[in-house]
Symmetry: C2
Subunit: 514 residues, 2 copies
């Protein structure tokens, strides 16, 4: 078999059997191999940022690597922003990036660029294949690298001749190394903080935000009087009725400082010490109180769940928890579409096991409290701050979980980055309900312009933050890609459309004009 | 004044007074400075690949640097593919990339990445500003670097505090260095080739493809019996009635080898020795005959026009040329929409001084012969092979030349990459007529799948090359971004729609179903 076939077989062997693709000439042998190998599902994306974001969404929900097939340096470049987000989400992703044949590179043909240099800033592992005979093992090594806790970005560059030459053989995939346990010293330091008598916060992310991790953290908190909180952006939170509810550190610096100001001890559980998303003149970069002592229970790659179990034992935490049950909110009355009423609608109507892909940016900051009592669901966030993730993320999550409803809460500004994802949702008939919050602006930036001290902005500045003139018509754009939908401008209309979208089997889009 | 204002003032001083932007928080001071400084026109783009491609189109038509304002590493990453194309077009571009404040970087906030590493593969010049006092000079140095012949990509990274701190001052912009003259030895080598009696080709690109350069090359050819040809992809060709017509080296390797097989001498005029776009099993990378001796008259950065003038003198070329005038083609009869009939329509109806932005990919390969006799126009190509340039390129060209009609010939696959450009065309009311060749596939790849030897492709492979299921509705997508248009599926319909698009003042889109 040729190198391409050995790579596809190795990927299937390694459980990497979904690939989000946008291939070109140099990847044609990989494409041709798809029909020779059983078990690989390829999902065509019309832009590479869709492919990488979908691989992230797939990985977050499947708990195994998502993969992509990309076309040389520029194809990889188009996917880098969502690889940045995937890296911040600690998602395992394997990228296969086609390259000119090894002997062709030196001629500097028009599509030539330094692919390794482009890959490195967003990848934990980069390798260029050298011959067909070792491509299978290169693929196996990429899968192992991606699978390394907490989840890594592995990029394998595949020169065309290493794909088309014969002599390929399946790679041997190393067993996934278990997460290393935390040290006794880390447990002791956390115990000292919990027993200090000072206000103490357990700051969580990663697997600590799955239901079991949250339950452990809440039991520790119940016993010790500590509080729990999630960092601002997280790859996946399991929440809703019957689960422990957790608030997040707020995005605005002033609010974050205020929420954290009383804590004098902080225990990091997979998280890093909280940092402002951006710097602002005269505001701090570090959000914890200057007198707060910060301990690390577990780093992102360590055995976070084991550490929480150990700590729960040490403090004598209760074996179970009567989690205070938030009640499912009532549906709001009719009126203009505002954030609180949207949140209540989501909380009231969200079906069991829904997957929320949240790129609401400004509109969605207040969605958490009113959705605590919703049916159990997963909440996936924009982790790296690079907008244009939501629609691809929802696409990948829906491929990973075909039995679950995916609800994509999307800003109009961020949605425009990677709207091509809607076509893939239509082609694959994915069960994604997209809701675009149409405020016709980069609303976040209007606030940021003030925050950085740029007062009294003039017309030219405000023009750069406005999406009006002309208004985007999301229903028309979605229809153009095969996704039905409707526009609403009242809560009564929104609730009706939301019910219609939930009842649809397949993609549906609601443009909610704020 | 603060650093941001000093930078904007320096850019305006340096003639870099159009900026294609997609700003974020870290760029808010640059945005705020826009209202303090007269003379800077900012054009908002809803995706960074639109901004960089528009800067390229602007630069190609304005003959001075286009500029962009981008948001940190991921914003730059989204623009890299079209910077790759700009680099291959030898277009001068200045990128301003916002970055976290200098003191904030070490905290590794979510949007942090290695911006310099991302910039380098697609930039000739990269610098990170260090303080407000020198940002003006950094900007001046960026403009000088971009302006260096034949045109370079200069990327200035702007930490937020270097923008918001006071103490900025305008930079001093170095005079643009003239292109160095070619050597006597280069002239002599070219003369020996021309006098060898062997079949000789002058291979042109860059400024050699403007009207004056082409005329010089044609006069040399007329005197010496040499032939002239352009490389396959070129930033800009001046052509049409009254100008010298030049064919290009074909894209398919077999055709290119055939066209070049009889030449035993080749003189490079700004061009490089012709190379296959991709490698294919059993086909050559180098397209010239193995016995062809290749000489360089002028490299891309040398004084190409001066070299042609010198060579014309040396051979005693005629002072003027009775260029054989191709006639304007007749309009085709009705029938299905096919490439030859499209080309005839373009040739017959294209208005004087039109700017053609050609990303037709497969459909447009045969457009050149029938448009030779059209009214004088410029033809801009996809130079780096990274699809998704056409709509942004047309946007930038229209900003540079508001009095001229821009016609964007676009593939459906390539158009989907950066369709957000249509919104900018609507907002700025740019006079762009977009024609999408809707063949519902990555048609080029169907051929390439065969070319690389992957025969009898199966359903899964073909699915990766098809844009059907569902069909894209371009008219609906364009309407969603404020651009009117219509779909046509016959030549009579196309001709009528083309006339309507030409008559429109502002953007218009035709979806031509093939």
């Amino acid at each position: 078999m040729n190198g391409a076939e050995s790579l596809v077989r190795t990927m299937v062997d390694g459980g990497v059997d979904v690939c989000f693709t946008n291939p070109g000439t140099s990847e044609m042998h990989f494409v041709a191999a798809l029909d020779k190998v059983e078990g690989m599902r390829c999902v065509l994306c019309l832009f590479e940022g869709v492919a990488t974001g979908a691989a992230d969404g797939y990985a977050r929900m499947a708990d195994r690597p998502g993969s992509t097939l990309l076309h040389l340096g520029p194809g990889l470049a188009n996917g880098l922003a969502n690889l940045h987000n995937a890296r911040r989400a600690m998602s395992p992703v394997v990228n296969i990036v086609g390259e000119h044949a090894t002997y062709h590179r030196k001629h500097d043909a028009p599509l030539t660029s330094d692919i390794e240099a482009l890959a490195r800033p967003m990848s934990h592992w980069v390798r260029t294949a050298t011959e067909a005979g070792s491509v299978g093992q290169d693929g196996a090594d990429a899968i192992a690298a991606a699978s390394r806790a907490p989840g890594q970005i592995a990029t394998l560059i595949l020169p065309a001749d290493t794909a088309w030459n014969e002599g390929g053989s399946r790679g041997r995939i190393a067993a996934i190394e278990p997460r290393p346990p935390v040290s006794r010293a880390a447990i002791d330091a956390s115990l000292r903080a919990l027993r200090s008598g000072e206000p103490t916060l357990l700051l969580l992310t990663g697997v600590a935000l799955r239901a079991h991790g949250l339950s452990l953290a809440a039991r520790i908190a119940e016993k010790t009087g500590a509080r729990i909180m999630a960092q601002y952006s997280n790859g996946r939170i399991e929440r809703g009725a019957g689960r422990v509810s957790v608030e997040r550190v707020p995005y605005p610096v002033d609010q974050a400082v205020k929420v954290l100001q009383d804590f004098r001890r902080m225990i990091l559980v997979g998280a890093k010490a909280p940092v402002a998303f951006f710097a602002y003149p005269g505001k701090p970069s570090l959000l914890a109180h200057p007198d707060c002592r910060i301990e690390t229970l577990a780093t992102a790659d360590e055995d976070i769940i084991g550490a929480l179990e150990w700590l729960a034992d040490e403090v004598g935490a209760p074996k179970s928890l009567a989690a205070p049950q938030a009640k499912r909110p009532d549906l709001p009355a009719d009126g203009p579409i505002v954030a609180e009423a949207i949140a209540a609608t989501l909380g009231a109507l969200m079906p069991e096991d829904a997957i929320i892909c949240d790129e609401s940016v400004t509109t969605g900051r207040g969605f958490f409290p009113l959705t605590r009592g919703a049916a159990p669901h997963d909440w996936l966030q924009l982790t790296g701050g690079s907008i244009g993730l939501g629609m691809p993320l929802a696409t990948g999550a829906a491929v990973a979980c075909p039995e679950r409803k995916v609800i994509n809460l999307e800003g109009d500004g961020s949605g425009m980055y990677t709207l091509q994802a809607l076509w893939t949702q239509a082609r694959e008939q994915l069960d994604v309900l997209t809701i675009v919050w149409s405020n016709r602006s980069y609303a976040i930036l209007k606030g940021e312009l003030m925050n950085v001290g740029a007062e009294n902005p003039g017309r030219k500045a405000l023009d750069m933050l406005s999406l009006g003139n002309p208004d985007l018509d999301w229903v028309s754009m979605a229809r153009g890609m095969g996704v039905p939908g409707q526009r609403v401008d009242s809560m009564a209309g929104f609730i009706k459309a939301f019910r219609a979208g939930l009842a649809a089997h397949g993609p549906y889009l609601i443009e909610a004009v704020l």
